[in-house]
């Protein structure tokens, strides 16, 4: 019985990782109605920037903030120079651009920072494991950070005019433009914020899985499954979905299908959600008039 409990707790910790990237995916979807396949690689790249700043001697939280600013600017610039020209192109063109970005970030990171595995410090310090070895300090700290990001994203879209304008710009660009919403700027802002959230996720994930250019490869797939399960339009859904993915993965791997089929489980969940309830557990069903 203790084993099951331990698997669940460990699954929540891993699920927190998926949830943080899933949040960035939801952010970009709410702001642009696209799924950015390069989200994970951008987060990985930001984490390398943070590591470089730390190695230059900056204190952790200063490096953390500087990385957020850098990532925000990187996201805005990418949207302006790469996706703006594709605004009216078919969706496949954007998908191509996202996959291209994924490869570019992966290779540039390898070229600049090498493929050697690097340790990344945790801001929550090292200490003895807590609750009888169930939770480490970092796992607890990063869960708190993910919750804080979730609250901010939710409050931003729920209570601010800017959040409303962004959702409008994504959902119906023509009408938004008619009522005076600067659609282009809103999309760029969405990219910036998503890149920032990704950077936070990267800095929380790296102490657990270690930093290398392929750090996000596996994470992104589970995050994607988590975001879909919770509902791609709901920040809360992303977090719940992400955590559920972590727990399901652990329990299925340990007791049901065996470790060989863990990844398959994630893919089966993606397919099941898309077939049975495409809006996910918490998402709104979107209908557009054609």
């Amino acid at each position: 019985m203790e084993g099951v409990l331990h698997q669940i707790v460990s699954g929540i910790a891993t699920g927190g990782i998926y949830a943080s990237i899933a949040l960035a995916l939801v952010m970009i979807f709410l702001a642009t109605h696209h799924i950015n396949f390069a989200q994970g690689e951008m987060a990985m790249f930001s984490t390398y920037i943070a590591l470089t700043l730390l190695q230059l001697g900056l204190p952790y939280w200063a490096a953390f903030l500087a990385t957020l600013v850098f990532s925000f600017v990187m996201g805005v610039i990418l949207q302006r120079i790469l996706l703006e020209p594709l605004a009216n192109a078919p969706v496949l063109a954007s998908v191509g651009a996202f996959l291209g970005l994924l490869l570019i970030f992966n290779n540039v990171a390898g070229w600049l920072f090498s493929y050697t595995l690097k340790p990344f410090p945790s801001p929550f310090g090292v200490g003895d494991p807590m609750f009888g070895g169930m939770f480490s300090r970092h796992e607890l700290g990063s869960t708190v950070v993910t919750m804080a990001v979730l609250l901010s994203v939710w409050a931003f879209f729920r209570f601010t005019r800017l959040g409303l304008a962004m959702r409008g710009a994504a959902y119906n660009p023509v009408s938004s433009r008619l009522v005076g919403v600067p659609v282009g700027r809103m999309l760029a802002l969405g990219w910036g914020l998503a890149a920032g959230i990704g950077a936070i996720a990267g800095m929380m994930v790296a102490p657990v899985v270690f930093l290398d250019p392929n750090m996000m490869g596996g994470v992104l797939l589970y995050a994607f499954a988590g975001a879909l399960l919770g509902g791609i339009t709901s920040p809360l859904g992303a977090v719940v979905g992400g955590v559920m993915m972590g727990v399901i993965e652990n329990l299925a791997g340990a007791y049901v299908v065996g470790t060989e089929l863990k990844l398959t489980t994630a893919l089966v969940i993606i397919v099941l959600v898309l077939v049975v309830k495409p809006s996910g557990l918490f998402g709104k069903a979107l209908a557009s008039r054609v």
Binding site: Q7, I17, T116, P119, G133, V209, F210, N250, A254, L263
Partner: protein, 400 residues
């Protein structure tokens, strides 16, 4: 069709008419002045950190040429980039065999890449010597008589670990985690070789992971819950580092025996935290260039002089240079054994008849040897244990 048969018939008559040695030896890639050797390695892409091997070989054969060559001939070493992509390896090897017409292919790197050319190169009967991968399948002299391995295979390594565990913990309750591919499965098979029918009794929990997984935390929890007191890990550095950290975090301290694929201090121990790795057991067959014990060893001095003269910008703490120097020395040994007969048949005959020989930069007592029924030149390892800040070798040189 008929015409072709006739032509083929004429061809064989013509061939029979020409005076040829009785053995019908094939001499390709060798002239009175040079021997062509082909090689592939990733100079670009994910695995390009291995490219120092190609750099080292190029410099090594340049030195051979500077010292007068071998068998009265200079070596023309052609090293091509395959980016660790099997499709590209096939293309480059075909180019080497069909266009450049090399005498042999030496030390191409990687398990998936060599697997892709394994059949082709044997059909073409081109010596495929001392491949740079430790999978067990390169020693299959019956089905692939033109391919020969080099370093101790993963399976040999696992057998050595199995024997060590059996001796140290006769009543062990053990657990194994392996990467779900050729590399990981070699360890499973090696341990099964040692334990035989008892394997399932001793190994109370066997789990796997995919190299695309995000973490292996769940597997570590399962292994701890099995109540095992010995853990064997056949994982790449990233996951080994995670296992070391996670088992420390959950307060589990089994006897940890790990694949030497992960013995790199820089990519496994440092990320995990050296204090968490205390007591881990693994193995090695090469001298570590950073170990002060070898500072005055003659082979180390010779190698440092070589590096200083031929690769002055090379990082001497990079173990890939040490590995490359040893295997290139074995290649040179085979070429010397050939005398002046550089037919492909004779090259293969010499490569499979190496009397026990010590190679530079191998641990003292290690010897390379082959016979026509043994295509695994190195079969020995020495165990080592992580203590404070370094690997401490212990026990004798062990063969499987």
């Amino acid at each position: 069709m008929k015409r072709r048969t006739v032509l083929a018939g004429l061809g064989s008559i013509a061939a029979a008419g020409v005076a040829r040695p009785a053995s019908a030896a094939t001499v390709v890639g060798v002239t009175a002045t040079e021997i062509k050797i082909g090689h592939t390695i990733p100079y670009s892409g994910n695995a390009s950190s291995y490219s120092v091997g190609g750099k080292s070989h190029t410099a090594f054969f340049k030195r051979v040429n500077d010292m007068g060559g071998v068998g009265g001939r200079k070596i023309n070493f052609i090293s091509l980039d395959d980016a660790y992509n099997p499709a590209k390896t096939v293309e480059q090897i075909r180019r080497l065999v069909e266009q450049d017409q090399v005498a042999l292919v030496f030390n191409p790197l990687g398990t998936p890449t060599n697997s892709a050319i394994h059949k082709y190169i044997n059909q073409k009967k081109v010596p495929h010597l001392f491949v740079a991968t430790s999978a067990d399948k390169w020693g299959d002299y019956k089905n692939f008589p033109w391919t020969i391995g080099y370093a101790p295979s993963y399976r040999t390594e696992a057998q050595i670990y199995g024997k060590y565990i059996k001796a140290q913990r006769p009543n062990a309750k053990a657990t194994l985690i392996y990467q779900n591919d050729d590399f990981g499965k070699d360890y499973l098979h090696g341990l099964q070789d040692v334990y035989g029918k008892d394997f399932d009794k001793v190994f109370v929990k066997v789990v796997t992971y995919e190299s695309s997984d995000a973490t292996v935390d769940s597997q570590v929890v399962s292994m701890k819950d099995s109540g095992a007191d010995v853990m064997v890990t056949a994982c790449i550095p990233k996951f080994t580092a995670q296992i070391i950290r996670k088992s420390f975090d959950i307060g589990w301290k089994p006897l940890h025996v790990m694949s030497n694929v992960s013995s790199s201090i820089a990519s496994t121990i440092t990320p995990a935290g050296p204090e968490k790795a205390e007591g881990i057991v693994t193995s090695n067959f090469l001298k570590d260039a950073t170990d002060p014990e070898w500072k005055t060893a003659p082979d180390m001095i010779e190698w440092r002089a070589f590096m200083a003269k031929y690769i002055p910008d090379g990082d001497t703490t990079d173990g890939n240079y040490v590995y490359a120097y040893g295997v290139a020395s074995l290649m040179l040994q085979v070429l010397k054994q050939c005398g002046t007969d550089f037919s492909r048949e004779n090259i293969m005959k010499q490569a499979s008849n190496i009397k026990p020989v010590s190679l530079p930069l191998l641990l003292p007592g290690m010897q390379a040897a082959t016979t026509p029924t043994d295509f695994r030149p190195l079969k020995q390892l020495q165990l080592q244990r992580w203590k404070t800040n370094t690997w401490e070798r212990f026990g004798a040189i062990i063969g499987a």
